[in-house]
Subunit: 324 residues, 2 copies
C-alpha cells in the first residue's frame, strides 16, 4: 500500500510520517512519499521514505504525485490562518485552489484508469469553518459560516471533497481537527499560536504572553491525538460517512484559567507565573469568535477518541518534547 | 446608476431587465447592460439597454464587464442542475469558476480604484445547497450539505460572496430562491422542470407527465416574486446582513396533490386530468431529497414577501403568459 503525505514538513505531517514508518513500514504499507515546499526530515528512517518538494498550486507537480497512484493521500498542507488573512491571494491559491488541483489530478487519474484508481483522501480541515453565535455545545448539524479567509478556504475544500466523493472519483473525509496543543518549537502566524506558547514557554522556563481573557473556552487535542485521528481515518469504513464527508472531531473543552490550573498542578505556580497577561484586542476579536465546545457524536461513533483532559494534553507534550 | 445583469437571456434575467427598464429607466437607473451567452431580446425597449455576449469562464470578458463599473451586478447565469450533474467540468467551470472569476474581476477593480469601486453583487443561489434529513420546516441555521453538483457549485459561490463581502471588496448577497413555477416555454434540463410542466401544459391543453408521487411537498415562488426578490435585494441595507450573506427566501410550501387541486379550482378537472402519472425513479430520487418547507425569518424581516398561495402562483402564470 502506497501513502502520500502532502504537507509532510509540518508539525503534524512529520509526526504522522514517523508514526506510520515506525509501526507499519514493510507491513501493509510499503511505500511512503513525503511532499512539502521544503524537504521533510525524519531522523533514523532515511531509507524508508521518498521525498518530493514543490508547490501544490502547480498542476504539473500534482500530476507527478498522483501518477504514483498512492492508495491513501493525506492532505495537510496549508497557509496558516493569520497568513491567509493577511495575504488573500496566497491563501486562496494554496488552501483552496491547491486542494482543488489535487482533487482534479485524482479525478483525471480515475478517468484515465477507467475507475480502477480511487484513493482514500484524508483532509485536515478546521474549526475555523464555524462562527458564532454558538450553542453551549456544537452538534454535528451546526452550520458552518466562516469568518476568516482560512475558514472559507477550508470549507471550499470540504465541499469539493464531498462532491468528488459523491461522484465516486475518490473516497474522501474532511477532519475538522480541534486546535492542536501543545505545539513544539516557535510561535507561528496562526492566531491560535498563543495556546501552545502559554504552556510550552513556561515549561521551558521562558515567559509567555496571554493576549486574551482567561474565561475564554476552546476545543483542543494533543498532537498525539491528531496523529491517532489521521491514522484512524485511513481505516474507516467510508460507506458509513454517506454523503457527509466532514467530521467534527472529539476534543477537550477547556477555559484558559483551567489550562493554567492544569499547568500549575503539573509544574507548580513558579511555572504558571511565567504567563504574562498582555491583552491584544486583535487576537481577542478573532479568538472570541471560535467554538468553545462540541458534541462530536458522529466522529465518536466512528471510533475517534479524544484526549482525557487538559492535564493529559500537557503531559503528552512533556513526554514527547521534554523527557526525550 | 449602472446595472449589469449576467444571465440576462434566461427566463428570470429577461423579466428582471424588463421590470427595471419599465419602472426605473431614466430615473435613478440610467444604464443597463444585459449579458449572456446569447443576446437577450427585450421587445419595445431596444434603445434602452446595451447587450454583450460571451462566456463568464473567460477572464477577458469579465474585465470588459467590470471596467464599465456597474453599481449593481445581478449574477443569474448558471448551467442548470441536470446539465451540471451530467457534465461535471462544464458545471464547475461556469457555475463555480465563472462566479469566482467575476468576483476576482470586481476585487481587482476595487484595488486599482483604491476602494472607490465597490458594487452590490446579487447572486441567484438555490435550495439545492441543502439535503435531507430535514426538520418539518428549515430555519435560517440549517446547515447546507449539497448532494448535487449544482448545489455544491452554488454553495462555493455563496462562500466566496461571503468572503469577498467580509473583506470589503464588494457588498454581496446570495438569494436562495425557491423553485420558480410556473416557467413559460419548454421543459429544460433542470430536475425541477416537471413542476412547471404539470401546470403549464394542461393550461395550454397539452398532456404533462408527473414523474414523482403526489404527496411530495416542495417550496415555490412565482417568476413575479422572483423579480420582486431580486429588485428588493438591490435596495437592502447590506449592513443588516452582517457576515451571513446567504438568505433562505420565503415561498409557498405545497404538495403535488395540493398543486393539482389548485389547478382544478382554477381550470377544472378537464385540465387537471391532462396530468399523467408516469413514475421516473431517477427524478424521484433527486426530488425526494429536496426541502419541503422553510421558516425564512431573516428574509421576511428584511422585507422579502412570498406569494400568497399556489393558486396565486398559477394565476400569475395565466395573467402573464395566457391572458396577454
Amino acid at each position: 500500500m502506497k501513502i502520500l503525505i502532502i504537507g509532510a514538513a509540518g508539525m503534524i505531517g512529520m509526526r504522522l510520517a514517523r508514526s506510520i514508518i515506525k509501526d507499519d513500514f514493510n507491513g501493509e504499507i510499503n511505500d511512503i512519499t513525503l511532499f512539502d515546499v521544503i524537504p521533510p526530515k525524519i531522523e533514523n528512517h532515511k531509507n524508508s521514505y521518498k521525498i518530493k518538494t514543490g508547490d501544490i498550486s502547480d498542476p504539473n507537480i500534482i500530476s507527478e504525485l498522483i501518477n504514483q497512484k498512492p492508495d491513501i493521500i493525506y492532505h495537510l498542507a496549508a497557509i496558516v490562518s493569520g497568513d491567509a488573512e493577511e495575504n488573500f491571494e496566497k491563501g486562496w491559491d494554496i488552501n483552496a485552489k491547491g486542494t482543488w488541483h489535487l482533487l482534479e489530478g485524482i479525478r483525471k487519474k480515475f478517468l484515465t484508469s477507467n475507475g480502477s484508481y480511487k484513493p482514500k483522501f484524508i483532509y485536515a480541515s478546521s474549526l475555523a469553518v464555524f462562527s458564532g453565535p454558538y450553542p453551549s455545545a456544537i452538534n454535528d448539524d451546526f452550520s458552518p459560516n466562516p469568518e476568516s479567509s482560512y475558514g472559507a478556504q477550508k470549507l471550499v475544500g470540504e465541499i469539493l471533497i464531498n462532491e468528488y466523493s459523491r461522484k465516486g472519483f475518490l473516497d474522501g473525509v474532511a477532519l475538522r481537527l480541534p486546535t492542536i496543543v501543545v505545539r513544539p518549537g516557535k510561535p507561528n502566524k496562526a492566531a491560535s499560536s498563543f495556546y501552545s506558547s502559554i504552556i510550552r514557554e513556561p515549561l521551558n522556563g521562558i515567559e509567555a504572553i496571554l493576549p486574551v481573557p482567561e474565561n475564554l473556552c476552546h476545543w483542543f487535542a494533543s498532537p498525539l491525538s491528531a496523529i491517532r485521528f489521521l491514522r484512524h481515518a485511513a481505516k474507516l469504513d467510508f460507506k458509513k460517512l454517506g454523503n457527509r464527508r466532514s467530521l467534527n472531531l472529539p476534543g477537550v473543552s477547556c477555559s484558559i484559567s483551567d489550562q493554567i490550573l492544569a499547568l500549575e498542578e503539573i509544574a507548580g505556580t513558579k511555572t504558571s507565573k511565567l504567563i504574562k497577561k498582555i491583552p491584544d484586542k486583535k487576537i481577542e476579536d478573532i479568538v472570541n469568535n471560535w467554538p468553545q465546545n462540541f458534541m462530536a457524536d458522529r466522529a465518536i461513533e466512528l471510533g475517534f477518541v479524544a484526549d482525557k483532559d487538559f492535564k493529559d494534553i500537557i503531559q503528552i507534550y512533556i513526554n514527547e518534547e521534554i523527557n526525550t
